[in-house]
C-alpha cells in the first residue's frame, strides 16, 4: 500500500514538473530561438529555410549565419542584403557581408561593407583589416582618411608609421613631420622607424633647425640609445652638412656627445666624430663615456692618434680604461705598447690577456703568449684581432698547438672561424 502511495506521489510530482516546464517555456520569438538552439545546426537551418512566415531579424540573421556555415556564401549574402533593408543592426550585417565578400575574393566590396561597419561601431581590429584591404587596393586616400579619424595614441605602432608614410606620400611634408615627431614621443618599438621618417623629411626639406632641435630632444629622452643610431645614420647621408648638423645637435644636447661620437663612428663618419672629440683633447682626461667613444673610434677608423694622446696624458695613478690598448695592438702590434711599458704590470696584464699575449710576443716570451691567447679565447674577444696577435707565433710551434687544441676546445675553435 505504501508502495502504491509512493508511486502515486511520484506520478503526481512528474505531472506537476511537466506543468511547470510548460509554464516556463519561452513565448513567441524567444521560444523559436530556444527551439532552434536545441536542435543540431543543420536541422535548425532546414527549419528556418522551410519557414512560411517572414522571419524576424534575429532569426533571419541566424538563417544567414547557418547558410554561410553550410558553405553557401552567395545565398547567405543575399539573405543579409535583404535583412539590411529592415533592421538597424548595420555593424553585424556589414561585417558579415565583408567576410563573405573576402571569401569570394572581392576586396573592393569587402572594403565597402567593412567601412560601413567601422563607421557604425569603430573597432581597432576591424580598422586594421580595413586598412590592409585599402592598401591592397591601392586606395591610399581612403587608408589615410581611415587612420586620420583616430588620435595618434589610439593607433598601433605600425599604423602610426603607415599614417606618416601616407601623409608624406601625398607631399604634405610639414604635416608628416609633425605626426612623426609626435609619434616618436609616444614611444614603442617603431620609434626608430618613425624617427627615420622624420629625419629624412626634415633633411630633404632642408629644415635643419627642426632636425637639430628635435634630435637633441630625442637624445635627452628615454629612447636615446636607439634614436642616436638613427640620428647618426641620417647625418651620414648628408656629407656636406654632416659637421654642421652633428655640432648643432651636440650643442643643444651636450650630454649626448659621447653617444653621438660612437654612432657617427659606426656610421663611418670619422671626420665628424673626430671633430666632436676635440673638446676632450683640451681637457686633462676624457670622462668614462668619452673613453669608450675614443676607443671605439680608434678601433673602427684606425686613427689612433687621439687615443694615443689621451693615454699619454694619463697620470700614473689613473686607471687605464678597459680595452684602451687593443686599437693600438690592432694597428701597431706589440710594438705600439712600448710607450706604455710602465703600465704592463703583472696585475694589469692578468686582466688583459690579449694585451699580455701581444706584449709577450714582442718580448719573444712565446710560452706566455700561448697561455695568454688561450685565456683570451675564453673571454669576449674579437676573433680577427685574436688571430692577428696569434699570427705572431708563426714558426714557433705554438700557433700549430693552438690549432690542434681548437679541435677539442670550442673557445679556440671560435677564434679560428672566419
Amino acid at each position: 500500500m505504501k508502495e502504491r502511495e509512493a508511486l502515486f506521489t511520484l506520478i503526481a510530482l512528474a505531472f506537476a514538473s511537466a506543468g511547470v516546464a510548460v509554464l516556463l517555456v519561452p513565448r513567441g520569438e524567444l521560444n523559436r530561438e530556444g527551439q532552434l538552439a536545441a536542435v543540431p545546426r543543420s536541422e535548425a537551418l532546414m527549419q528556418l529555410d522551410a519557414a512560411q512566415e517572414p522571419l524576424t531579424p534575429q532569426l533571419a540573421f541566424r538563417q544567414a549565419e547557418l547558410t554561410a556555415a553550410s558553405g553557401d556564401a552567395q545565398k547567405a549574402d543575399a539573405l543579409l542584403a535583404a535583412l539590411a533593408d529592415r533592421t538597424t543592426e548595420i555593424e553585424a550585417i556589414a561585417s558579415a557581408r565583408a567576410d563573405l565578400a573576402l571569401r569570394g575574393g572581392d576586396l573592393a566590396l569587402a572594403a565597402e561593407h567593412l567601412a560601413r561597419a567601422q563607421s557604425a561601431a569603430p573597432d581597432r581590429v576591424r580598422r586594421q583589416r580595413l586598412g590592409l584591404i585599402y592598401r591592397r587596393l591601392g586606395d591610399t586616400e581612403a587608408e589615410r582618411a581611415l587612420l586620420s579619424l583616430e588620435s595618434m595614441d589610439a593607433l598601433s605602432g605600425w599604423e602610426r608609421v603607415r599614417l606618416v608614410d601616407l601623409t608624406a606620400t601625398e607631399g604634405a611634408t610639414a604635416q608628416a613631420l609633425a605626426l612623426a615627431d609626435f609619434a616618436v614621443t609616444l614611444g614603442g618599438e617603431q620609434v626608430p622607424l618613425l624617427a627615420d621618417r622624420f629625419i629624412a623629411l626634415a633633411l630633404i626639406s632642408e629644415d635643419f633647425d627642426a632636425f637639430s632641435q628635435v634630435a637633441a630632444r630625442w637624445l635627452a629622452g628615454p629612447d636615446a640609445p636607439a634614436l642616436a643610431v638613427t640620428v647618426a645614420q641620417g647625418i651620414a647621408t648628408q656629407p656636406r652638412q654632416a659637421s654642421m648638423l652633428a655640432h648643432s645637435v651636440v650643442t643643444l644636447a651636450p650630454a649626448s656627445r659621447a653617444r653621438m661620437v660612437e654612432e657617427l663612428t659606426r656610421a663611418r663618419l670619422y671626420r665628424v666624430a673626430r671633430e666632436l672629440m676635440q673638446p676632450w683633447m683640451d681637457d686633462a682626461v676624457p670622462h668614462l663615456g668619452g673613453w669608450s667613444a675614443l676607443i671605439l673610434y680608434a678601433d673602427f677608423s684606425g686613427d689612433v692618434s687621439l687615443l694615443d694622446k689621451a693615454l699619454r696624458r694619463l697620470r700614473p695613478k689613473d686607471i687605464v680604461p678597459q680595452g684602451a690598448f687593443l686599437p693600438l695592438i690592432r694597428y701597431g702590434g706589440g710594438q705600439a705598447l712600448l710607450p706604455y711599458q710602465a703600465r704592463m704590470t703583472p696585475d694589469f696584464l692578468a686582466n688583459a690577456p690579449l694585451v699580455e699575449a701581444s706584449w709577450a710576443i714582442w718580448w719573444q716570451r712565446h710560452h706566455e703568449a700561448f697561455a695568454a691567447l688561450q685565456r683570451a679565447a675564453r673571454s669576449e674577444t674579437d676573433p680577427v684581432l685574436w688571430r692577428a696577435v696569434a699570427d705572431g707565433l708563426q714558426g714557433t710551434g705554438y700557433l700549430e698547438r693552438l690549432k690542434v687544441l681548437s679541435q677539442t676546445d670550442d673557445n679556440l675553435a671560435d677564434m679560428f672561424k672566419t
Binding site: 543540431p40 563573405l100 573576402l102 575574393g105
Partner: protein
C-alpha cells in the same frame, strides 16, 4: 669546305641552344635544378627561417629550382659542383663578415661554371667588394627619400602584386645606377642623379629589400614585387622543362591531412544530448567514410595527451588502421608542422605561403592552403576552399592541401567544409594521394635530371616517383608524340603544358614541335588528358593504344575519331565531351587490367 663549317657551326648551335635557353653552366649535362642561397646566420639563425626560405623557396620550387643554403658567416665550402647550379641568390640586411672573401668565392664559381652565374642580390650586397661586383658604389648607396611617388619609375612587370609598390620616406639603400645597367625601379635622387631600387646588369640583378617586402598595419610582412619575376633570372628564355609538383595525369594532386589537435574536445551540447560529440568521434565518422586517401598525424604523444582516454585512443587506432588512412607522427617545428619521423614532408606555416603558395621540397616544405576565418567560418576552411578554386596565377601551381585539426570538426561549418573538400578529393576532379607518395614525388623532383637531347628535347632520368613534367612558356609548342617516348599524354593550361609520364618508363623522352610545323597526323593516335585510374605501360602499336589501368574513375583522352575501348574483355561506353575529346568510366576492379583504345581498327 665553307659549307662544312657552316653546317658544323649550326649543329653545335642547335645542340647548345637548349642549354643556353636554360642558363646552364658549360659543364652541365642536365637542366640545372639548384640555386645557391646565401644567408648570414648572424642575422638569420637557420636556413628554414631565412627570408629566402620564406619568400623565394616556393617560387623557386615552382620553377624546378631548389636552394642549396650556404651560411656566409661560416667557412664557405671551397667549391660547389656548379654543374647543377642555375644561379646564386643572396639576401642580407647588412654587411657580411668577409665581403672580399665572398666576392672572390663568387668569382671562382663563375670561373668554374664557365660563364657568369645569374646572381640575384636582395638588400645589402654584403660590403664594398660585393657592391663593386655589381658595378655600384656602396659608399654612396645610402640616401634619403621623401616618400613621394612622383618621379618613381617602375618597369611594368616589377609593379606590386599583392599591394602596389610604395617606397616609404626614410633612409634607404639606393645606389646610383651603374652605367651599363638596365633600370628596373628608380627614384629621383637628392643630387638630381637618378637612384636605383632595382637594376639588372648582365647576369646580375639587384633589388632593394623595400621593393620586396613591406609591413602592414599589424607589422606582418607584405610581399610586393612578384617573386616569379625574381626567379625568372634563373630560368632563361623559351620553353623550359621542370618537374611539376601539382598535377598527376592531368588532375590536381590533393592531400588531406588530419591532425589530432583537440582530439578529445567535445562539441557544444544540443537539445538532444546533454554532452556534445567528441572531436575524435566526428573525425572517425568524417574521415572514416571518405574514399580519399587521408594522412593522419597519429600517434604522437607530444601533440596531444590521447593515451589517457580509452575511447579517444580506440577511435584513433580504428581510424589509423583503415586502408585509405596512413598514420604517421606529426609534430610542430619552427614555422610549421612536420609529418613522419624522420620527416616525410613538412608543412610550412600559413604566413609563409597563403592561398597561392607553392610546394617546397627538401629542408623547406609544402604550404597548406588556408583561408582566414570569417563570418560563420571560424576554421577558415570554407575560405580555403574558395581560395583553392580561385588560385589562378598560374593555375595550378600547387597541390590542393587540406589540413584539418580535429578541433575544426567541432563546428558545423568546419564539418561541412571538410566533408565537401573530401568529396572533391574523392571525385574525378582530383588525384588524391597519401602523404608518403607525395613525399616520394618531391624527392623525385629533387633527384630528377632533365637532360637536353637536341633542340627542345629532353630525357628525364632519376625521377623516382615524379610522374609529371611541366613545360613552361610553351606557347606555340606541343609535344611531338612521334618522337617522344614514355608519355601517357598532355594537358594544357594557358601557356603551360603538363606532361604525364609513364610510371613504367625509366627514362622518358620528350620532344617539342612548333604548332606551325607541318606534320602528318596519325589518325590512330590517342593521348590521355585526364585520368583518375592510374595508367602505365603505354604501348602504341598500329591502331591500338594499350595501357595497364588500376583503380576506378574517369579517363578523358584525345583521339581524332570515336574509339572502341575495352577494359580486359569488357567494352566500355565512350562518351564524347568536346571536339576530339572523349571519356570513359572504369568500374571498380580488384586488380590492374589492360585498357585498350582502338581507333580506326579494321
Amino acid at each position: 669546305m665553307s659549307v662544312f663549317w657552316v653546317g658544323t657551326a649550326l649543329s653545335i648551335a642547335l645542340v647548345l641552344m637548349p642549354l643556353r635557353s636554360v642558363a646552364a653552366c658549360l659543364t652541365a649535362a642536365a637542366v640545372p635544378n639548384r640555386v645557391i642561397a646565401l644567408f648570414d646566420s648572424r642575422e638569420e639563425p637557420t636556413p628554414e627561417t631565412s627570408r629566402i626560405a620564406q619568400h623565394l623557396a616556393g617560387p623557386l620550387a615552382k620553377n624546378g629550382l631548389f636552394p642549396t643554403y650556404v651560411d656566409v658567416s661560416r667557412p664557405i665550402p671551397a667549391s660547389i659542383a656548379t654543374n647543377d647550379i642555375s644561379g646564386v641568390v643572396s639576401w642580407f640586411g647588412t654587411a657580411v663578415q668577409n665581403d672580399d672573401g665572398l666576392a672572390a668565392w663568387l668569382d671562382a664559381q663563375d670561373a668554374d661554371c664557365g660563364r657568369p652565374l645569374p646572381l640575384v642580390v636582395i638588400g645589402d650586397p654584403g660590403g664594398p667588394a660585393l657592391w663593386a661586383r655589381l658595378g655600384a658604389n656602396g659608399a654612396t648607396a645610402w640616401t634619403l627619400h621623401n616618400g613621394v611617388r612622383e618621379g618613381m619609375k617602375v618597369m611594368p612587370q616589377w609593379r606590386g602584386i599583392r599591394a602596389p609598390l610604395e617606397i616609404p620616406p626614410g633612409r634607404l639603400l639606393a645606389p646610383r645606377l651603374p652605367l651599363d645597367a638596365e633600370p628596373l625601379i628608380t627614384i629621383p635622387g637628392l643630387d638630381e642623379v637618378e637612384r636605383a631600387l632595382g637594376f639588372r646588369r648582365g647576369a646580375q640583378t639587384w633589388l632593394s629589400e623595400l621593393t620586396m617586402l613591406a609591413k602592414d598595419s599589424r607589422g606582418v610582412a607584405l610581399v610586393t614585387v612578384d617573386p616569379d619575376q625574381i626567379v625568372a633570372a634563373f630560368t632563361g628564355d623559351g620553353p623550359r622543362a621542370v618537374p611539376d609538383l601539382a598535377m598527376f595525369q592531368g588532375l590536381r594532386i590533393a592531400l588531406a591531412i588530419l591532425l589530432t589537435d583537440g582530439w578529445r574536445l567535445r562539441a557544444p551540447a544540443s537539445g538532444r544530448s546533454s554532452l556534445g560529440q567528441p572531436a575524435y568521434a566526428l573525425a572517425k565518422a568524417i574521415f572514416g567514410e571518405t574514399s580519399a586517401p587521408v594522412s593522419f598525424g597519429w600517434p604522437d604523444a607530444t601533440t596531444d595527451k590521447i593515451g589517457s582516454d580509452a575511447d579517444a585512443t580506440d577511435a584513433g587506432h580504428a581510424l589509423a588502421t583503415l586502408p585509405h588512412v596512413s598514420a604517421l607522427p606529426a609534430y610542430n617545428i619552427a614555422g610549421g608542422i612536420s609529418l613522419g619521423s624522420p620527416p616525410l614532408l613538412r608543412l610550412s606555416h600559413p604566413s609563409f605561403g597563403g592561398p597561392k603558395a607553392t610546394p617546397r621540397a627538401g629542408s623547406s616544405a609544402i604550404s597548406e592552403l588556408v583561408g582566414p576565418p570569417g563570418f560563420a567560418d571560424p576554421t577558415g576552411l570554407h575560405a580555403r576552399a574558395a581560395a583553392v578554386a580561385r588560385s589562378d596565377t598560374p593555375w595550378p601551381s600547387s597541390p590542393d592541401v587540406l589540413v584539418i585539426r580535429a578541433r575544426d570538426l567541432l563546428d558545423m561549418s568546419g564539418q561541412l567544409a571538410a566533408m565537401r573538400a573530401l568529396e572533391l578529393h574523392a571525385s574525378d576532379a582530383r588525384a588524391a594521394m597519401k602523404i608518403e607518395r607525395y613525399a616520394g614525388w618531391l624527392e623525385g623532383a629533387l633527384s630528377a635530371q632533365i637532360v637536353p637531347e637536341g633542340p627542345y628535347a629532353w630525357r628525364v632520368q632519376n625521377r623516382g616517383a615524379l610522374n609529371t613534367l611541366r613545360i613552361d612558356r610553351a606557347e606555340g609548342w606541343v609535344i611531338d608524340m612521334s618522337r617522344s617516348t614514355g608519355i601517357l599524354g598532355t594537358s594544357r593550361y594557358g601557356p603551360t603544358l603538363f606532361v604525364a609520364l609513364d610510371p613504367a618508363s625509366s627514362a622518358p623522352f620528350l620532344a617539342l614541335r612548333s604548332t606551325t610545323a607541318a606534320v602528318t597526323a596519325d589518325p590512330a593516335f590517342v593521348e590521355v588528358v585526364e585520368a583518375g585510374p592510374e595508367l602505365s605501360n603505354v604501348n602504341r602499336e598500329g591502331c591500338q593504344t594499350v595501357f595497364t589501368a588500376e583503380g576506378r574513375g574517369q579517363i578523358k583522352f584525345r583521339s581524332s575519331a570515336k574509339p572502341a575501348v575495352k577494359l580486359g574483355r569488357l567494352s566500355l561506353e565512350v562518351v564524347p565531351t568536346e571536339s576530339d575529346l572523349w571519356h570513359v568510366s572504369l568500374p571498380t576492379r580488384a586488380a590492374s587490367e589492360t585498357l585498350s583504345i582502338a581507333v580506326g581498327c579494321p
